[in-house]
Symmetry: C2
Subunit: 323 residues, 2 copies
C-alpha cells in the first residue's frame, strides 16, 4: 500500500462496512483504487437486528467522528433488494423479516447508505479492480468457500433481481437426486464444490470404507481448505476424486451460465480456490463436463484476492450510487 | 382484431420486420397493443446479405410508400449486438460476417432502425403483451420448436450480451456426454427437448428395436409437433418416455436459470409447446429434475401465442429505442 495508508492524501470520502455473522468491520475506501484506510471493528450483537444496526452505526461513527463521509456502503450476508431492503440474514440472530437498512441507517447517520449482499460486493470489487475483468461489462464471480456464492455483472451493472437472489449459483443443480446440499435439496453445485459439502462427502467415504487424508488431517475438527491442498499434494486418491467431482460440477455450471448469459469473463475466488490456486482453475477449464458451448466462450481467472473485498465492494456500490 | 384492422384509426408509426431464412414479412405495429396492420412479404434472396438487405428495404418501402414510419425494427435469425450489428445468420446464405444492419438500413430507409434476434423479439412481445408477465421486470421466454431458443428480460430490459448470444438456452448442458445436439456437442437441452432432437431420438429408438408411433405417423417425412401430440394421445410409451426426458431437461435448465437469475416468471412457447399445451408445462413444473431451489421460485406459463410475435417484438424494440 502506498500514500493513502501513510496519510499523505486526504481521506477518501466513502466508507465500506462488512456486516458479518460474528463481526462488523468499517473502513475508509478510495473507490477508484480500492485502497483502504482506518479500521473499526465490533462484535455483531446476537440480540436482534435493531441492536445489530445500532452497532453498525456506532462502528461507522467511530471511524468517522466528524461526519465527513459522503456515503456509506454496507455488505450483509443476506438477500438485498434494490440496494436498500435486506430480506433476511440467515447468519444474524432474529433477522427473519425484511428491513429497509438503507433508510434506517441513512436516517441515523445523516448520509446516504446503500446495501449489498456481501458476496455480490466481492464481485463488484473484482469487477472494478480485478485487472482485465475490470474493463469488461460482463463478469460472473464465483466464490468457493464453505459454500458457493456468486455475483453477476451484466452491461456493467450488478444484477440483484426482484428478491435479491441473483448469484445463488451454489444452489444450481448439477445432478438431480445427487449429493445432499446444506439447504436440504439434492445435487446442487455447493454439495460437490463447497468446503462443507466436500467435508460431508469425505466423511461419508471414510465411513463407507474409503479412508482418506482429509479425514486423517482434520481429525474430529473441521476439514479446512488447506487440508484439501495438503491431501492432494500427498496423493490421496479419494481427495483427488472428490475434487474432480467439484471441478466437473463447477465446469458444468459455469459453462452453462456463460452460454445462457454470453459471459466472456468468469473469476473464481474464495478459500478453496485460494488454497488450490491456478491448477484448480485449469482443471475446471479442462473438464469434459464443461457446460454449454464450451470453455472457448469464456476466460476463467483467479480472483485478485483483494483484502477486505466485501468492504471495498460495498464502498464502490456507495460511490456508484451517490458519488 | 378491432378498429385498427378496419382502418378506423391512424396507422401506427412503427414497422416490424421478420427476416427469416425463407421469407421477409413487414407489418405496421401499434407497440402499445401489439395490433398489426398491413402486410408485405418477399422471398429471402439466397444471393448474399447485400441482396437480402435490399429486399428488406424494398419490403418496408412497399408497406410504407409515403415514408410515414417513425422507426423500423427488424428481427433476424442470428446474433445481434447492441441492437445494430448482426454477427452472423446461419440460415441466410453468405451471412458469415458482422454487418451493421441498423446503420445500413437506416441510411437506405432514412429513418432509425433497430435490430434484434428473432427469438429475442418473441420474448419482448411476450413481456410487453403477455398478461401477468407483462407487469414483471423479469422474464425468461423459452421457445421449443425445431430447436430451443430463449429471450431474457432483466430489470425490464432485453439482455443481449456482448456477442448477442444471451438466451441460447437450447445449448445449455443437462447431461454431460449425453445425446447429440444439432450443434455437434453432447447433452444439450435442445437434443432432448427440440423437435429435431426428439425426431433423432425417436428414429434411434426405432432402429434399436423400439418401434414407436412417432416414426409410424411421420413415415419418411419429418416428425412434426402434431405427431408428438398424437402419439402421446395414442399411448405410445416411447413417445411418453422421450417427452419425459424433454420435460426433465427443460425443468432442470429453467429451474437453474430461475435460481441463478432470481426469475419469477418463465413463459413457454413455440411449436412443440403449442401442440402439447398446458399438460406439457405442468409436467415441467412437476419434474423431479426441476433445477435449483425448485418450482416455487418461478411461475411457468404458456406463451400467449401472439400472431407474428417476432414482427411485433421487433416493432416494440423500435418504439422503446426511438418512440
Amino acid at each position: 500500500m502506498t500514500l493513502a495508508d501513510r496519510g499523505a492524501d486526504p481521506a477518501p470520502a466513502f466508507i465500506g462496512v462488512d456486516l458479518g455473522g460474528t463481526k462488523i468491520l468499517a473502513r475508509w475506501i478510495d473507490p477508484a483504487s480500492g485502497r483502504a484506510r482506518g479500521r473499526h471493528k465490533a462484535v455483531t450483537p446476537t440480540t436482534g437486528p435493531a441492536d445489530v444496526l445500532d452497532a453498525v452505526a456506532d462502528t461507522v461513527r467511530a471511524l468517522d467522528p466528524d461526519g465527513r463521509a459522503v456515503a456509506v456502503g454496507v455488505g450483509v450476508p443476506g438477500f438485498v433488494i434494490d440496494g436498500r431492503v435486506v430480506v433476511r440474514c440467515a447468519n444474524i440472530a432474529g433477522w427473519d423479516h425484511p428491513i429497509d437498512v438503507a433508510e434506517h441507517l441513512g436516517a441515523v447517520l445523516g448520509r446516504p447508505v446503500v446495501v449489498g449482499n456481501d458476496v455480490n460486493c466481492g464481485a463488484v470489487a473484482e469487477h472494478h479492480l480485478g485487472g482485465d475483468a475490470a474493463t469488461a461489462d460482463d463478469l460472473l464471480a464465483v466464490f468457493v468457500g464453505t459454500g458457493v456464492g456468486g455475483g453477476l455483472i451484466l452491461d456493467g451493472r450488478l444484477v440483484t433481481g426482484p428478491r435479491g437472489m441473483v448469484g445463488e449459483i451454489g444452489h444450481v443443480t448439477t445432478t438431480p437426486g445427487g449429493a445432499l446440499c446444506g439447504c436440504g435439496c439434492r445435487g446442487h453445485l455447493e454439495a460437490y464444490a463447497g468446503r462443507a459439502g466436500l467435508e460431508r462427502r469425505a466423511r461419508e467415504a471414510a465411513a463407507a470404507g474409503r479412508p482418506n487424508k482429509l479425514v486423517d488431517l482434520a481429525g474430529p475438527s473441521t476439514i479446512k481448505s488447506r487440508h484439501l491442498a495438503r491431501a492432494l499434494e500427498e496423493g490421496c486418491e479419494v481427495t483427488a476424486s472428490l475434487l474432480a467431482d467439484a471441478t466437473d460440477a463447477l465446469a458444468l455450471v459455469i459453462g452453462n451460465a456463460a452460454t445462457l448469459l454470453d459471459l466472456r469473463h468468469v473469476v473464481l475466488g474464495g478459500g478453496v480456490v485460494d488454497k488450490l490456486g491456478q491448477p484448480f482453475v485449469d482443471q475446471i477449464a479442462a473438464s469434459p463436463s464443461f457446460g454449454g458451448l464450451g470453455p472457448d466462450l469464456c476466460a476463467l481467472r483467479l480472483a485478485r484476492r483483494l483484502d477486505d473485498a466485501g468492504v471495498v465492494g460495498a464502498a464502490i456500490l456507495a460511490a456508484d450510487r451517490f458519488g
